[in-house]
């Protein structure tokens, strides 16, 4: 199994740190990754909870939670964007 780096930004970064490693299961989707992160503990559960708006990116492109992640991917979770 590969370990993929999850990057966090904004309020997620403040709560969970800039990045962390997670072991990747076979053919795992972003949604499944999020669930695995939620299971890591109360702080993860609080900020990544279902019902909270969380956006994600794979290899620096916006992605939805059905996207399958492979071992070499760069994955990021962040709040709804507020640029401009």
């Amino acid at each position: 199994m590969a370990a993929v780096t999850i990057r966090y930004f904004a309020s997620l970064r403040e709560a969970l740190g800039a990045s962390e490693l997670i072991e990747l299961g076979a053919a795992q989707t972003l949604g499944q990754l999020r669930d695995a992160l939620i299971a890591r503990g109360p702080r993860h559960a609080a900020v990544l909870a279902r019902g909270r708006a969380i956006r994600c990116a794979v290899n620096q492109v916006m992605a939805d939670e059905t996207v399958v992640v492979t071992g070499s991917a760069e994955v990021a979770f962040f709040p709804p964007v507020t640029g401009g």
Binding site: G51, R52, V61, G83, G84
Partner: protein, 181 residues
């Protein structure tokens, strides 16, 4: 001249317009937008004394380049430039510049508005405002999603789940192509 710049430094509109137009006398219309830092957040009584802009280095540039590519596909543009500042800004400071050049004004106005509506809902920046009560992250606005959806863009920045995002994208696409909406 790069089409997208993410920078801490300020920018000057007339300098950017001149650079955009140089060497292309076929340009008949230039339209621009500048976003600036307000000293108060709507709905909040406290004054904003500073705004900090975080971004996703690498993705930000790529994302805005892709938005400009889409603007060129949809509208008859001759040139486009986006500058977005990051770091700590003060009330009154310029944040973002979008400037586009076209042959006629209709395409220029539309291209400029399209790029801003797209950027507001898809470009990976996050604003944090400092007020007398402390610093807080700015919430994304549903109104911005609605503006994006008008162009047939996903408009699901504030959606709670990405199954909702897919549904919103499907609804926006259907609304823009079908008479039954």
């Amino acid at each position: 001249m790069p089409r997208v710049s993410i920078q801490t430094a300020d920018f000057d509109l007339s300098t950017e317009v001149a650079a955009l137009r140089v060497g292309d006398a076929g340009v008949g219309a230039v339209a621009s937008f500048i976003g600036t830092v307000r000293d108060r957040h709507s709905g909040v009584a406290a004054e904003v004394s500073a705004m900090e802009l975080e971004h996703y280095p690498g993705m930000t540039e790529k994302a805005i380049e892709a938005m400009i590519d889409e603007a060129f596909r949809r509208f008859e543009l001759r040139a486009a430039r986006v500058i977005h500042r990051v770091g700590v800004l003060q009330p009154g400071d310029q944040i973002v510049l979008v400037v586009v050049a076209s042959v006629h004004r209709g395409q220029a106005f539309q291209g400029c508005e399209f790029l801003m509506d797209y950027l507001k809902t898809q470009a990976p920046f996050w604003k944090k405002e400092t007020t007398p009560e402390g610093a807080h992250w700015v919430d994304a606005r549903v109104a911005d999603d609605k503006a994006a959806a008008r162009w047939g863009l996903p408009g699901a920045n504030t959606a709670e789940s990405t199954s909702a995002a897919s549904a919103a994208a499907a609804a926006a696409a259907a609304a823009s192509t079908s008479a039954n909406s």
